[in-house]
């Protein structure tokens, strides 16, 4: 009896401490990553670095083109992915009356979500850059990002479509509205929050993406306007970080880029968390 109870005590203590230790390690890891990047990068921050393009003549490096490219490509990809993703979600949730088609689409979305980014990069290069003749350009990169982020947008939109009470739809139908009108005026306005959350999650993914953009968007560091940039190659922040750190050994620039990326993912994360809580509260009402 006492042996058994000692055994139980040991079991309890071991499992309890293992859980605590593992959680502590995970938390410490997060803190380490954040603090390391920010502390190490502070000395390298300068206005000049953030506001200029790299110049071979003066031998200076600036990350402004990379920041602009990142913004352009995210904007373009969002413009492309939103109608596609929201449309698919609406089809699956509101219209679908053919189970086979629905199943095929669901399966494809699951597949898309699991394909690694390097494969997207290769296929994007083959299809958009070579077959469609877009060359290595931000537009090709944005198209690749669009396909990659479809599952995220579709899933979050579907989730929020499901939270719209069926009675809303029935009420609108009862008033004589047809389907598309019901969706446009009743259902969609109710799930704006969910769609926005999906967008934010996608922006996070797009910002962090590098392998898919390496071969589709390229490495150039030229400062362009939006439309010129779409046709020309350009490195996003992540690709630039890779190039500066791995191929040029410029750790100072790399640190600054890493800090910018870290800051952006912090902001995106906080926004997404706040939004998710707001949706949760709404559901609770």
């Amino acid at each position: 009896m006492s042996v058994a109870s000692t055994k139980r005590k040991i079991y309890k203590a071991t499992m309890l401490s293992l859980s605590n230790i593992c959680m502590a390690i995970t938390v410490a890891l997060v803190f380490f990553l954040i603090i390391y990047i920010f502390v190490k990068s502070i000395p390298y921050f300068s206005w000049e670095l953030l506001s200029t393009s790299p110049s071979y003549l003066k031998g200076t490096i600036g990350v402004l083109p990379d920041i602009m490219n990142t913004i352009y490509i995210i904007f373009m990809a969002l413009v492309l992915v939103l109608p596609m993703g929201v449309g698919t979600a609406i089809y699956l949730n509101e219209y679908s009356n053919r189970p086979k088609v629905e199943k095929a689409i669901e399966y494809c979305i699951e597949t898309l979500a699991g394909i690694p980014s390097i494969i997207y990069g290769l296929v994007g290069m083959l299809v958009f850059c070579q077959f469609m003749g877009l060359q290595t350009s931000l537009l090709a990169g944005a198209l690749t990002l669009m396909i990659m982020n479809l599952p995220t947008i579709i899933r979050t939109t579907q989730e929020s479509l499901k939270t719209v009470p069926q009675s809303y739809r029935e009420g609108a139908f009862g008033l004589g509205a047809a389907k598309w009108r019901v969706i446009r005026t009743v259902v969609l306005p109710c799930c704006i929050d969910g769609i926005v959350t999906g967008c934010i999650l996608s922006v996070g993914r797009m910002m962090g993406e590098s392998a898919a953009l390496l071969f589709t968007a390229g490495f150039a560091h030229n400062l362009n306007g939006f439309f010129d940039a779409m046709h020309s190659a350009g490195a996003t922040l992540t690709v630039a970080l890779y190039v500066y750190a791995k191929e040029q050994g410029r750790f100072d620039v790399a640190f600054v880029i890493a800090a910018i990326l870290m800051l952006m993912s912090l902001v995106i994360n906080i926004t997404a968390t706040v939004l998710a809580r707001r949706i949760q509260n709404k559901k609770g009402e």
């Binding site: 390690i25 938390v27 990553l33 698919t88 089809y91 898309l112 993406e209 392998a211 992540t238 890779y242």
Partner: protein, 293 residues
Amino acid sequence: MFEAHKKIINTEKIAYWIFLVLGVMNVGFVLMICVYLLIAGTPAIVKVGPIDFLFGTTWASTAAQPKFGILPFILTSIYGTIGAIVIGLPLGFFSAVYLAKMASRKVKAVIEPMVDLLAGIPSVVYGFIGMLVLVPGIRALFGLPDGSGLLAAIIVLAIMILPSIIKVSITAIEAVPEEYTLGSLALGANKVETIFRVVVPAARSGISAAVVLGVGRAIGEAMAVMMVAGNAANMPDSLFQSVRFLTTAVASEMSYSSGLQREALFSIALVLFAFIMVINGILNMLLKKGIKR
């Protein structure tokens, strides 16, 4: 009156077809990816010979007598993934148990966003930190000439798959009905025994889904691994060997490749895709099983 009615019916029809087309386009994208990979990937496998390609141990794509054996990459990817799971699974599993069952609501509200942040950090940043912290660390610790290699890649991958393992495990553990816990406590088991002997076994399929998801993440990761693995096409004989994964083999030579070498790179991508499809299949099966129960 009739005119207006007709117009509405037309708009409705158009809307239906637009949404149907948008939905079906997703199928089109998947088909496009499969077809392009098959078209681009098969020629080299045929030319080199499937056996020589998959089980050849030497990769010398730029030599005078080029050799295209990708066994080193396949083994590296498998070892790297197993290693990442061996480190990442216990860490993630116990963290998930802590968050789902032991943490107070306040603690959970603080830590969960931190786990999300871990998932949101771009892979190049992981690679960069790995390059600056892990690689010199391993070099100093084991007295090696160069710290970059399989071990560094495994550790980076383990950290990168942590958030997925934690998130999915938490969902699985929280989905276990409260009655199980109550029943076990009523029979005299203490809280820890209840968690690990009743709740966790009940959440088995969800937790295995977390593992498979982690495997998928680890095997598909390219950039972070490229920055810490050393990138020499060696067989992964030791933990400190400089190695190439399937993903990094494609990424590192793509920009200057041509001819058969380029075709072989697409074949590597095809092999990687085959791996991923199998893993996805297992994942979906597990997830469905979890939902059914």
